[in-house]
């Protein structure tokens, strides 16, 4: 295994687009390639996260069309699908193929047009990430899963549900505050000053989660150029090194011991920490998969930042806001920035890289510039988890 770096990243604005999945991916990819100063002939493989291009616009087998659009010759192109975790598993595989020495430079990223499906079909397709026979057929939805997790959390830790809802609201308040300051965010200049009541009293989606407990459906693309660390400085003065990567899996929720302590996330994050030789205390900045308010809290505990049952207090006390540690979702997260599910993991990487270069938008930038960052991406009901640990310095 050799060291690997990210030499360029790109992200489209997230929100509603009249561009195809291919166009969104390529906009982000070309931005990443320009930043990295890579020539088309330098890229040896393309890995793309895309979850529902078939449902959205009748496009499967998207890889070749991406390669053709970018004029990358006839290099191999592979679509990765791990629900909302797709782009992170694409980047993790790019990392491993480069680390192994098989490739020197791989383009990895993702794309999605979830808004094209509308709420009803999007809710249906997202639910397909659970077990189709034993979960999807019952009519469960993803907000429903995290609504059940919130009630379970309330019960296990003996936090009255109304108190827990107030604590959960602070995830939405924090992430929307950051998203409102991010020009690439779906809710840029919107909802930057939410109050607890605004979250709790918004429209109920899956009791007790309201609309403001949920991330939006989104369109968008994001990409990163993954290269051997030995050649990274030929392309950039600011390589961001991949210090560790992890991935984990689990089946239907009932087979998981405790939905508030997702074992697949513990496995994945520990794998990444072990490889990096680092622990939760070393992380300055964190992109957490905040698909729902309860989801960010559960993740912050499972990764190891807070004791079990203490994540809700931590966000209420501002420990994960800018100025706290670790800073969680300074770009708005999924909730404020948007969640084009195939692209989300690559957008998380884009944010960490921008933060490490001191180029994040005003109000998002962490000061001093973070040295160690981490991404956490979730697919389905803890069915696919992946983590990347990134650093400004080589190990």
């Amino acid at each position: 295994m050799r060291d690997v770096a990210i030499i360029g990243t790109g992200q489209t604005r997230f929100g509603r687009w009249d561009k195809s999945n291919t166009e969104l991916f390529c906009d982000a990819a070309l931005e990443a390639m320009e930043e990295a100063n890579v020539d088309q002939k330098d890229i040896e493989a393309l890995y793309a996260g895309a979850v529902f291009p078939t449902f959205e616009e009748g496009q499967c087998n998207i890889g070749g069309h991406l390669v053709e659009s970018l004029h990358l010759g006839n290099i191999p192109a592979t679509r990765f699908e791990g629900a909302c975790c797709s782009a992170t598993i694409a980047i993790r595989d790019a990392y491993m193929w480069v680390a192994s020495g098989f490739y020197d430079i791989v383009l990895a990223g993702g794309t999605e047009r979830a808004l094209l499906m509308g709420t009803s079909l999007a809710t249906k397709t997202f639910a397909m990430a659970g077990d189709c026979k034993y979960e999807g057929n019952a009519g469960i939805t993803f907000p429903g899963m995290f609504a059940m997790a919130a009630r379970r959390y309330s019960k296990i830790y003996d936090i009255p549900l109304d108190k827990l809802r107030e604590k959960m609201a602070h995830v939405s308040i924090k992430n929307h505050k950051h998203g409102a300051l991010n020009p690439l965010a779906q809710f840029y200049q919107k909802m930057g000053n939410l109050k607890v009541e605004d979250v709790i009293n918004s429209r109920m989606i899956c009791d007790p989660l309201t609309l403001m407990d949920c991330c939006p459906f989104s369109d968008g693309g994001a990409a990163a150029i993954i290269a051997s660390a030995d050649i990274a400085r030929r392309y950039t003065d600011e390589p961001i090194y991949i210090l560790g990567a992890g991935q984990g899996s689990a089946g239907h929720l009932g087979a998981q011991e405790d939905m508030t302590k997702p074992a697949s996330r513990v496995f994945s994050s520990r794998s990444a920490f072990k490889q990096a030789g680092l622990g939760p205390k070393d992380i300055d900045i964190m992109e957490i998969h905040d698909c729902f308010t309860s989801a960010e809290i559960i993740a912050s505990e499972a990764i190891g930042f807070f004791d079990w049952g203490k994540g809700a207090d931590a966000v209420e006390e501002g420990q994960t806001d800018i100025g706290g540690r670790p800073v969680v979702n300074p770009d708005g997260g999924l909730m404020g920035k948007g969640h084009p599910i195939g692209a989300t993991g690559a957008a998380q990487v884009h944010t960490i890289a921008e933060e490490m270069k001191g180029r994040a938008p005003k109000g998002n930038q962490v000061d001093p510039v973070p040295e160690i960052g981490m991404t956490d991406t979730l697919g389905g009901g803890f069915n696919t988890l992946a983590h990347l640990i990134l650093g400004r310095s080589r190990r």
Partner: protein, 140 residues
């Protein structure tokens, strides 16, 4: 070739149609797997035998779905039930929806409630490969 599934999803659904919950007893560790898998969900053994469960259990958690997927009509309650024999399965809860919302200060008391399984048949959609047979839990 050998078929490894002793109990398939179709067998499980066929049981549910008669309000029966079928599971698998592991001949190595003695524990119960449900819904069916080709391996014991606890120890991984393939040495399993089909068994009918009591259908009794208690609610671990639940939610009232207000925004439903295409093909489903809100509002309905989804719940996770820990069956008396050990495994946890997802199903619907037959209960007053209003009492399962945060507007009811005592809604959390549903957690731990003893229930027994029956079933509900939901119509097929384009993707479901036939009718959806879902456990429907009722308070004891």
């Amino acid at each position: 070739m050998k078929e490894y599934y002793i109990l398939t999803a179709k067998d499980f659904y066929d049981g549910l149609r008669e309000d029966k919950i079928f599971g698998l007893r592991c001949k190595e560790c003695g524990q119960i797997t449900c819904p069916p898998l080709p391996t014991c969900q606890w120890c991984g053994s393939k040495d399993l035998e089909k068994t009918e469960l009591s259908g009794m259990g208690e609610i671990l958690t639940f939610t009232l779905i207000d925004v439903s997927p295409e093909g489903f009509e809100p509002h309905y309650i989804i719940c996770m039930v820990k069956l008396d024999e050990g495994p946890t399965i997802m199903g619907r809860l037959d209960y007053d929806a209003e009492k399962a919302t945060v507007k009811n200060e005592r809604s959390q008391e549903l957690i731990g409630m003893k229930v027994k399984a029956s079933h509900v048949v939901l119509p097929a959609d384009v993707y479901s490969g036939g009718e959806k047979i879902v456990p429907l839990f009722k308070a004891l």
